[in-house]
């Protein structure tokens, strides 16, 4: 009996994920989102980035490096805004009222939505990257397998992390305007605490090094930035003195592992927090 119920729950989860995918495929945000990442790759090729060289990187590695840096700038805010806009917007427009009157559990509905949305935000970014690699290989460039696998992992956890934050904001905010405002503030705060901006000023103002590193390690955008940097700058020379703290405490492999696990955990915790709020409060 319990197994049958679990199977049905799982089936409902996939059904809800599928429904969200079908809805997203026809949504304007998804078309713009896909066009941005697809267009980005086309632009990188068009400007001959695969042929240029920087810090010893050339061909596809050079292209991926630029792509991942640009993705880091675009993906978090895009995922946050589109998630809160569509989730809070659906609630306001009466989509929740209708769909949640169908016999499905709240867990299957919420996590199904999260799963469907994750595929929709991850796939365009991933497919644009894969498309770039296929095109590069056709053109005779060498395939950077290690980089490809690592960046795929980073993109997955980055998308998951900001999706989880977005879902939490969507469940806390009761209107799409408030949700969008909150999402923007969260993104701006994380952006300001990158090492180049507020964190740099705080260090100048004698903030203890441990605190600065702790802030940097807690900021998923900084974690992602440092991790993506690590592949072409293993000693993190670009980071300055804080690199010593990171490398001494984690080592390169340890930090890469941290960069994959921390955003995953943060996103899951936020999504779980969002679920707890969702199941305890008014749904529509």
């Amino acid at each position: 009996m319990q197994l049958w119920q679990e199977n049905r729950n799982m089936k409902h989860l996939w059904l809800n994920a599928y429904a969200d995918i079908v809805e997203s495929l026809r949504a304007r945000w998804f078309i713009i989102y896909t066009a941005i990442f697809g267009g980005l790759v086309v632009l990188l090729f068009a400007y001959g980035l695969a042929e240029s060289r920087i810090m010893g990187f050339t061909g596809l590695s050079r292209l991926l490096l630029t792509y991942i840096q640009l993705t880091m700038a675009i993906l978090p805010i895009f995922v946050l805004i589109t998630t809160v806009r569509s989730v809070a917007g659906d609630r306001e427009a009466g989509v929740f009222e209708y769909l949640l009157a169908l016999p499905t559990t709240l867990s299957a509905w919420y996590w199904g939505k999260m799963l469907g949305r994750f595929l929709m935000v991850f796939m365009p970014v991933f497919l644009a990257m894969v498309g770039a690699i296929i095109w590069g290989v056709i053109k005779g460039a060498e395939m950077p397998w290690r980089m490809m696998v690592y960046y795929t992992g980073l993109l997955m956890v980055l998308a998951w992390c900001f999706l989880g934050i977005g879902m939490l904001i969507s469940t806390l905010a009761r209107s799409s305007d408030v949700a969008q405002g909150a999402a923007f503030v969260v993104w701006l705060t994380l952006l300001l605490f990158l090492d180049l901006i507020l964190l740099g000023i705080m260090i100048q103002e004698q903030l203890p090094a441990g605190s600065a590193v702790a802030i940097a390690l807690a900021n998923p955008m900084q974690v992602f930035r440092t991790a993506s940097m690590m592949l072409f700058d293993p000693q993190l020379v670009l980071l300055g003195p804080s690199a010593y703290v990171i490398l001494d405490n984690f080592g390169q492999a340890g930090y890469i592992l941290y960069a994959l696990l921390y955003p995953l955990l943060l996103g899951t915790l936020c999504a779980f927090g969002g679920y707890q709020v969702f199941r305890r409060t008014d749904l529509p």
Binding site: R26, A93, E97, L102
Partner: protein
């Protein structure tokens, strides 16, 4: 079947439901009426387990919030405003049917009876359908399965007269097996459909009354109207009821669904000065013998 006990709902300081006590049994067809802000939609959302509330709501002894799947499996719901779903029509039917463990073909058959061919609109996003088509599809999803409780929020507002008649027939088919809660802010819209009227005002039940259950939900009335002068506005209004007019625009004939008679007479009162004669006869049912009776 449904029990509301001292139900209270607050939105911050605003108390929307003020200790509602109400019991609805199987076979009850309840018109839930009241002006805007009376608390009808809030009550429905509490019943569907969508709102947290104080007090107790139960459907066959189950809490709609805690045992939502078991409760909602019994409920067919038609909202007042169709959700702006971008999902194609056929996918929506399949999706709803899968969640409800129902047969999508049965839902499609109900839609067809209401005049909506799902096959024809299968790839069209739900949101792109007309208001009436959306309403028909939502009704088909609610009625095209074994629901024991129908919760209908202004369900027939966007339907054409023929679809209204079929809709009333569909309700008639469910009358023995299901309870119905039909919300409307106008009693004349739903009066003939129900055997009980519950009126709400400012979050409380102010009237709970049984009404005569004399109207056959599947009946039709043949109607003939003679005017004392031609009038364009009347022609437009009666045209919406699919009436046919004579060439001089003075004589109009058509059919009205039995439960719609009050609503129809409400329309005629607006043109009372134009009316020279009205005849209403209950149309003979194909499977029933006997002469038509005057309405």
């Amino acid at each position: 079947m449904i029990q509301f006990e001292n139900l209270v709902k607050r939105f911050r300081r605003n108390q929307v439901l003020r200790g509602v006590d109400l019991t609805i049994e199987r076979g009850d067809r309840v018109a839930l009426v009241g002006s805007n802000g009376a608390g009808k939609t809030t009550l429905i959302r509490c019943l569907l387990g969508e709102y947290t509330c104080e007090g107790r709501v139960s459907v066959d002894g189950m809490d709609p919030r805690q045992q939502r799947r078991a409760v909602l499996a019994k409920v067919g719901f038609v909202p007042q405003l169709p959700p702006p779903l971008k999902m194609p029509v056929r996918q929506l039917v399949r999706f709803a049917a899968s969640l409800c463990a129902a047969d999508p073909l049965r839902m499609e058959a109900v839609a067809k009876r209401l005049g909506l061919d799902v096959e024809r609109f299968r790839s069209q996003p739900f949101v792109k359908l007309s208001g009436g088509q959306k309403q028909k599809l939502l009704i088909a999803i609610a009625l095209g399965r074994d629901s024991e409780l129908l919760v209908l929020d202004e369900p027939a507002a966007n339907l054409d007269p023929e679809a209204r008649h079929i809709f009333f027939q569909l309700l008639a088919e469910k009358r023995e097996t299901a309870a119905m809660l039909i919300s409307s802010h106008r009693l004349d819209e739903v009066a003939a459909l129900v055997n009980r009227v519950v009126e709400m005002d400012q979050g409380s039940v102010v009237l709970d009354d049984r009404v005569a259950d004399l109207v056959d939900l599947s009946s039709r009335l043949r109607c003939r109207i003679r005017l004392n002068q031609r009038e364009g506005a009347f022609a437009n209004a009666i045209g919406d009821w699919s009436f046919r007019g004579s060439e001089d625009g003075l004589l109009w004939e058509g059919e009205v669904a039995g439960p719609d008679r009050l609503r129809f007479l409400g329309l005629l009162t607006r043109y009372a000065a134009l009316l020279a004669a009205i005849e209403l006869h209950e149309a003979e049912k194909p499977n029933r013998s006997g002469s038509p009776a005057d309405g």
